[in-house]
């Protein structure tokens, strides 16, 4: 454990630009030196135009560039210096390894950064704990996990206020932890990205890039790579389904909250109510998206990304899948004796998902968005370099 804490301490210092660079950061700096002398990949994504504004790659630059990278694979398949070339350039992999360090370095509280390191275990334990909690709770409240009267009335199973009491703190904690982490990330990265303040236009640009998954389009609109050098839109589509599915589910919950408190309309809602429409659409979208991402990841080219982070990636995909699957089953099983059990399962999964949001793959969206925001700012500034040719 001591070793891990040292590692976290080191990672934080490094990310802030103090102390000796980690091997992963040094490796990205080495590769960027080669890429900066080549530049063939400039049209693919934001990483390479950002690179050309620099001559040297310090830790803050590297963490910024690493989080601009979406692991699309285009630069690997196009690279004249990729393995087996002796320069062994594999930018998606080197960047992924640094991203792993970013999440640890900027986790809040710092000690919980270690949860990233054995993330498969983290998520499994969270899931087990979540399930156990709600199964026991269901038993305690209802005396049974099967059947019972007034089937279909969720609030009779788990009183609304109890749910709020349990979920609200966990959710707020996730928001707080991610917020503080990304704030520190921005504080470290800003000086390395011109230091200029964020303008409304930058925020709009970054939001647009995030919502459209601009940098999974290959720069030409035909998409990114999965198993080989052919372009595919399937990754972008599966990611879109996942992201928007998650957002729709979130919107369903938000609308339901407003219904409950503002109008006194209590759950359960059924079609064609707004929470139900949003929830079903989101659930189906999330189900399809995560199934797609899972299938694509199974056939992903072995040189893409950092294999050590597979448990984190698969774990997050699985939690999202289980969330939507159990949610949809719950709705389909309304009025049946299975309701109590399914409800406990669903709540357990959702609790595990929420509790691990700041300590799992979800973080990539937050740090990536922050990097894109700084990219929008930096892009507005004139370059400090005047390379003779230009």
């Amino acid at each position: 454990m001591r070793a891990l804490e040292n590692l976290i301490q080191d990672a934080r210092q490094l990310a802030a630009g103090h102390g000796p660079a980690s091997p992963a950061v040094t490796e990205v700096a080495r590769q960027m030196q080669i890429c900066n002398a080549c530049r063939y990949c400039e049209g693919f994504c934001a990483v390479f135009p950002a690179m050309t504004r620099r001559l040297e790659f310090g830790a803050a630059d590297v963490h910024y560039l690493a989080n601009l990278c979406h692991n699309c694979g285009a630069c690997l398949h196009a690279c004249q210096y990729a393995p087996p070339h002796e320069f062994a350039v594999n930018v998606p992999q080197a960047m992924a390894q640094v991203r792993g360090e970013t999440y640890v370095a900027y986790a809040w509280p710092a000690a919980l950064g270690k949860l990233y390191q054995r993330n498969g275990l983290t998520l499994s334990l969270a899931l087990a704990a979540g399930l156990a909690l709600f199964l026991l709770l269901a038993l305690a409240l209802n005396g049974s996990l099967w059947g019972g009267a007034s089937a279909g009335d969720f609030s009779k199973r788990f009183p609304h206020n109890l749910m709020v009491f349990m979920f609200a703190p966990v959710f707020l904690w996730a928001v707080l932890a991610l917020g503080l982490g990304v704030r520190r990330f921005l504080r470290d990265v800003s000086p390395a990205t011109s230091g200029a303040a964020i303008m409304t236009g930058d925020a709009l640009q970054a939001t647009q890039d995030v919502l459209k998954l601009k940098y999974l389009d290959g720069g030409h609109g035909e998409g990114c790579h999965n198993e080989d050098d052919a372009f595919t839109l399937s990754r972008s589509r599966a990611h879109h389904l996942t992201f928007y599915g998650f957002m729709l589910c979130f919107a369903a919950t938000s609308v339901a909250t407003v219904y409950h408190y503002a109008f006194g309309w209590h759950a359960p809602y059924d079609l064609p109510s707004l929470p139900k429409l949003l929830g079903v659409a989101g659930g189906v979208s999330l189900l399809l998206g995560t199934a797609g991402l899972f299938k694509l990841k199974l056939t992903r080219h072995p040189l893409h990304g950092d294999a050590a982070q597979n448990p984190m990636d698969y774990g997050f995909i699985a939690l999202l899948f289980l969330t939507s699957a159990s949610g949809l089953l719950l709705w389909l099983a309304r009025g049946t004796p299975a309701l109590a059990l399914l409800l406990a399962l669903h709540l357990g999964v959702v609790m595990a998902l929420f509790a691990t949001l700041p300590y799992g793959k979800f973080a990539h969206g937050i740090f990536r968005s922050a990097a894109l925001l700084r990219y929008a700012v930096e892009k507005r500034q004139p370059s400090t370099l005047a390379l003779g040719d230009d």
Binding site: Q33, I34, N36, A37, C38, R39, Y40, C41, E42, G43, F44, P49, T52, L55, A74, C75, H77, A78, C79, Q80, Y81, P84, H85, E86, F87, G219, H220, E222, D229, A230, T384, L385, A386, L387, G388, D389, D390
Partner: protein, 486 residues
């Protein structure tokens, strides 16, 4: 298009796996021929030198997607005439130029994407269309398209011998590995054949033979680095010239040759090993003497002569020396420069004679005339009273820290090749073969007798690859129909 029957007689055999070979294979297949492409390299090294390229020089009369303004035929031709010093075939050159204006929609249809000029290469925004992701992305796209269209592709398939009877191609002998690992030869017959297997720049023995021994008793080519693939051994080129007496074009010492970082790998160093600070400082040889006007013209117009200049220096090495004023004004080199706080210290680190070095630098510094430095124009900063003069961008090298980059000649590709005509036919005793064609570096010397201008290698390869593809398919299909009737 039906997938060709494996046992039917092959229409077109393409030997090579780079841009020209792929263009030929795709065009032949589109014309309805069955096509087999033999790439000498394993799959991960496929594409030859094309994997290191980045753009295509294109004629255009008006702005075209990624190309700005216009680059008319006459200007392209004059540029070519200038760099080759007239060592070119005007008819073939003009064919390449005209084809370069129309080939890109075809390239796109096979999955090639273009992008505007890269940062650091904006001087080519008018003349050169860049491949998104560079040449390896282009090669990948062509191989995908070829396989989709039913072109058969074999890797690890070097051809070492052809059967040619009276100028007529009969068969190729390809080296194969038996399952037990032992070597064997397979004979492949086809109705027509396209040779697009590259130059001979990676063949150290041949380079040694061509460059010989200089007046200092050195074998200069031993110090050459090869910027591209190690698979361009020139096996077929030599075979055609020596064993079949094919008509030859070009001088074996002529090549696209640039000065690159002396620490570059022996093969496949590609674009990133170039050193672009020559015009911002001075270049001295092993004797610590300057030997050429570093500021003669814009670097993109001069980079292609410096490989040869360095090859003529003792030990085939030179050192580009700059000071702090140059930092951030040229493309960042792949390896860090040797750095020192004084010029004397720098000479020591480079192992150069300090006194001579200091005399050279002082003479240069004192000869620099005051002017207005402007790296984007042919400015008025020049030397007076020093030999050789530096005619532009001459500023005293006086601001620490000082940096040095050792330079070696880097060969991109050789120009000695097979003589050809507008049909891309290989010629024997000035008679064109009916079914043997050539494209790419194996015939680039017809257009490029010497010198180089960025992107023209790909223009030649694309134009003649496409011509060879059409011609070979036409010949194969005609002779196939003839056989069927007989």
């Amino acid at each position: 298009m039906p997938i060709p029957d494996k046992h039917a007689t092959l229409d077109v055999l393409v030997i090579g796996g780079g841009n020209a070979a792929l263009c030929a294979a795709l065009m032949a297949r589109e014309a309805g021929a069955s096509v087999l492409l033999l790439e000498a390299a394993p799959r991960e090294w496929r594409g030859g030198n094309s994997a290191h390229t980045r753009n295509l020089r294109c004629m255009h009369d008006a702005p075209q997607d990624v190309l700005v303004d216009a680059y008319p035929e006459e200007e392209f031709w004059q540029d070519l005439l200038k760099v080759t010093g007239g060592l070119t075939n005007e008819q073939l050159a003009r064919r390449v130029i005209r084809d370069s204006s129309t080939c890109r929609s075809w390239m796109r249809s096979h999955g090639v994407h273009f992008q505007p000029s890269l940062s650091g290469a904006l001087h080519t925004a008018r003349t050169n269309a860049f491949f998104m992701g560079g040449g390896k992305a282009l090669v990948n796209a062509y191989f995908r398209s070829a396989e989709k269209l039913g072109v058969q592709v074999r890797y690890d398939a070097p051809v070492n011998r052809l059967e040619i009877v009276n100028g007529h191609f009969v068969a190729a002998h390809v080296q194969v590995q038996r399952p037990d690992g032992s070597a064997d030869t397979e004979r492949i017959t086809a109705r027509a054949c396209v040779l697009a297997a590259g130059g001979f720049e990676s063949n150290r023995d041949w380079l040694r033979e061509a460059w010989g021994t200089n007046e200092r008793g050195e074998t200069p080519s031993d110090n050459f680095l090869i910027r591209g693939t190690k698979f361009n051994q020139g096996v077929l080129l030599r075979h055609l010239l020596n064993d079949h007496g094919a008509d030859v074009i070009g001088d074996p010492t002529q090549a696209h040759m640039v000065a690159i970082d002396a620490r570059a790998p022996l093969y496949d160093g590609g674009i990133c090993t170039r050193i672009d600070c020559v015009s911002l400082g001075v270049v001295v040889n092993r004797e610590a003497q300057r030997f050429y006007d570093e500021g003669e013209d814009f670097w993109p117009k001069r980079y292609a002569i410096w490989g040869r200049l360095v090859a003529q220096q003792p030990g085939q090495i030179a050192y580009s020396i700059i000071d702090a004023k140059a930092i951030g004004r040229f493309m960042p080199p792949v390896f860090p420069g040797v750095k020192a706080n004084t010029l004397k210290e720098l000479a020591g680190q480079l192992g150069l004679d300090r006194n001579t070095f200091m005399r050279t630098l002082n003479d240069y510094n004192n000869a620099c005339q005051a002017g207005t430095f402007d790296h984007t124009a042919l400015d008025n900063c020049h030397t007076e009273g020093v030999m050789p003069a530096k005619t532009h961008w001459a500023r005293p090298i006086d601001t620490a820290p000082f940096y040095a980059y050792a330079l070696r000649p880097g060969v991109t590709f050789t120009y000695l090749g097979l003589k050809t005509d507008e049909t891309a036919a290989v010629r024997f005793g000035d008679v064109p073969s009916d079914n043997l064609f050539v494209a790419g570096e194996m015939m680039a010397g017809n257009v490029l007798g010497k010198g180089y201008t960025a992107g023209v290698g790909m223009s030649i390869g694309t134009a003649f690859g496409r011509i060879a593809g059409v011609q070979s398919a036409q010949e194969a299909i005609q002779s196939g129909a003839h056989h069927a009737r007989a």
